[in-house]
């Protein structure tokens, strides 16, 4: 296991490094004038343009850019974000929290409520209620994330006024407000974005869990257990749960990219101050250092996710442990 883990980790590091270098190269060859961000509509003379190009490292060849990036990255320096005029690492640090909060809560709900619903569905085939769940998952998967968000905002924030429209906290709440108030405020701001994220993504774990559980339910030992007169719930708990985890773990590995793309859109709808909004704006502004910085973070997250999934896979399913 440790030998395998070491090999797998090296693999992950190599993949991540290659992907990051690919991204640097891809962004490097993008057309567009990065100075447009700094200068706006202001005309600038040759001396100013030359000075700014040097400062932000714009006029480098691809090998130079790759070299500089690698050297900086080793020191934990990802350059200066043009649109923020501050170090990329600082900017990323400021925006990673909100995305992690939204993403991890989505994950949590999907893998608790989602799995429970899937299991329930598998145990109650053909009933009216399971038909409703089935239809809901199809429509839920089919709904565009941002459209869900727009409609939710329209109904619950604008028309009914129950929840805030946008942002992750109330700017009118003083910085020294008691913790309980700050938590309630954060939760209020979370309701709509989180609901949107969950509605858009929960169909996948529900359906996956259902088919996995049903495949297990068809196994002889489960049928035997049922024949012994055990209730379906007990059977589900004792026998179906663990084997059905395998596909779920696979899903977990693929999950991060899904959350990332969901986050980009949901954050944009709710002006949620996370990495998704940051990445979208950096791309459009051709803020090269910031795009690369955010990309690096995502690549690492994806690699970690798939590594974790592989490890869990082996834990859950001992059959996988053969070389």
């Amino acid at each position: 296991m440790t030998g395998w883990l070491a090999r797998r980790s090296v693999d992950a590091v190599v993949s991540a490094a290659a992907a990051i270098l690919l991204l640097v190269a891809l962004v490097h060859v993008m057309p567009g004038d990065p100075l447009a961000v700094i200068l706006g509509d202001r005309p600038a003379d040759a001396a100013t343009v030359a000075r700014l190009r040097e400062r932000y490292g714009i006029d480098r060849s691809l090998p130079q850019a790759l070299g500089d990036f690698a050297r900086g990255a080793v020191r934990g320096d990802l350059g200066i974000a043009l649109s923020e005029q501050r170090p990329v690492t600082t900017v990323l640090r400021e925006h990673v929290g909100p995305t992690l909060l939204l993403g991890s809560l989505t994950l949590l709900i999907n893998f608790t409520v989602g799995l429970a619903l899937g299991l329930w569905w598998a145990l109650h085939p053909g009933t009216m209620r399971s038909r409703i769940v089935s239809a809901a998952t199809v429509v839920g998967y089919a709904l565009p994330t941002f459209a869900i968000g727009m409609v939710l905002v329209w109904i619950f924030a604008v028309e009914l006024g129950w929840l805030p429209v946008a942002g992750s906290s109330d700017p009118l709440l003083p910085a020294d407000a008691p913790l309980s108030q700050a938590v309630v405020d954060r939760l209020e701001h979370l309701v709509l974005p989180l609901t949107t994220m969950v509605m858009a993504t929960i169909a996948v774990p529900i359906r996956q869990q259902r088919s996995a559980a049903r495949a297990v339910a068809a196994q002889p030992w489960v049928r035997a257990a049922r024949a012994r007169g055990l209730s379906p719930v007990v059977v589900a708990w004792r026998h179906c749960w663990r084997p059905a985890l395998t596909p779920i773990v696979t899903l977990l590995g693929l999950w991060l990219p899904m959350l990332v793309s969901g986050a980009v859109l949901v954050e944009s709808v709710f002006a949620w101050p996370g990495l998704g909004t940051l990445l979208a704006e950096a791309t459009v502004n051709r803020d090269v250092p910031l795009v690369i910085g955010a990309g690096v973070l995502l690549v690492i997250a994806v690699q970690l996710g798939s590594l974790l999934a592989d490890v869990l896979y082996r834990v859950v399913d001992p059959a996988q442990r053969q070389p």
Partner: protein
Amino acid sequence: MIQRIILACLLGIGGMISSATPAIGQSNAAVRGTVVLAIPADVSVPVPVVGLPYTHVADVTDQLFLRLGFLKSSFRTVGDDALTPMLARSWRRVDSLTLAFELDPRAMWHDGAPVTTHDVMFTWRLMVNPAVGADHAVIEPIAGIDSTGVRTFRVRFRRAFAEQLYLIGFNLQPLPAHLLERVPVDSITTSEYASAPVGNGPFRFERRVPGEFVELRAYPAFFLGKPTIGRVVFRVIPNPATRLNLLLSGELDVLEYAPPSAMAQIRAKRDLRVVTFMSNLVLYGRFNTRAPGDTSRPHPVLGDRAVRDALVSALDRGVMAERIYGRNASVPGAVQSVSWSWIRPVRGTAGATSRSAVRAALAKAGWRDSDGDGILDRNGVPLRIGLLYPETSAVRHDFALQMQAMWRAVGIDAHLERLPGPVGSERLNAGRFDVEMGSVNQDASPMSLTQSWSCASAREARSSNKTRWCNPEFDRLLANAITGKDPVAGYRVALAHMARETPAAFLAAPYNNIALHSRFENVQVWPVKAWTSLWQWRVRRGAELPRDR
């Protein structure tokens, strides 16, 4: 429309009169009242000169940092009486090339240090440093600044012109030398100072939550009077639809350029009202004079004046402006926003010429539909025109769609090139485009036309004259206006000449419809620097919301 302008000016004067008598009678109580505004992007470095040159950055920094003076309500930039004193208490003319200023001795930085000539000199040195990339048009006419005392200094100009006072007084915002002198220029934006700047304005920096908002608090010892608004929050809301939602839900107090399509909803809310102010915005589709990709040759289609005239006359600009701005915009004849109304406006034709007349004019220039596909052609080349604009601009997109439809009706195939900002600006700089859909927040002074409409700017690689329009007669008229005896009349003549040459389809000069919460009184919004008078707004007694207390 003229009544409208007079009305707007009266509103402006009304604002100035009431602001001449600053808040009274509550000198010791903590300042109450909160205004929540929206900005389209974060302001990570809320410091003038070194921060990014965008309107939303200035919206924040103008609350923290004063100018030497501010324009009067007409927004006329001409003469030594163009400004009312702010940081500078007074000024006098030494000779035609020199102005002497005296700073207000009461002016203080928020850390208690006095504002001195030293700060002015420090800031000027920063502005001329190429690493900062400050506005060339402000720096170039100024030969230098000399210190003459702790609070006095003289500004020397390279030539005599009537807007010297405006140029330096409106554009110089001193930074605190005592806090920044030791910081290397390249490190200012990453310094601790930039994350919590100390200014000298009516509000002081309170906190910034990245990606969410910037909060400012009243500075009660402000030397021009105690602010009557206690807290200003700028929320970062990139999307216009979200801004509208926030206004309707009561989370936002003020919305600029309220869209006509939302007026019914806004008016249906009893605690919102809409007030119209002057704006410095003007929209146009500017014709490239040079061949795309080869700036040595004239543009094969748009180089022909008759074609340009026909293109413009095919557009019903009145209908377009009304569809997009409701009744709150006029059709300009040249690049002239409402804030330049102190120059008698040069008007454009609102309606379109008949389709047959447009087709006849184009036929005369050689463009006919010889292959019967509905699109005009000449020597086998179809009449195709690209409209280029950044993908983020919804208004320009709306105008482009309307132009496309109206041109199609007369056999012109216009395609939309909606590009990401930096990609578009690279294409514009390289001259690879047909029509630049522009939306410009004009400077207060038409002197700025030399940056974007002169032959000199047409030759520069990175100027804002992307279409490389060069008209020596216009240059002569503009130069005459700037340095002549009567700039107001001179500018009018130059703009009228521009209108005759059809360098662009000038689309709209809108007013700024501000939707705001009805609890605010003494509200004044300016063109160019919208929220300069924010500190003098007041919350009507008895109408306070919980957030105001």
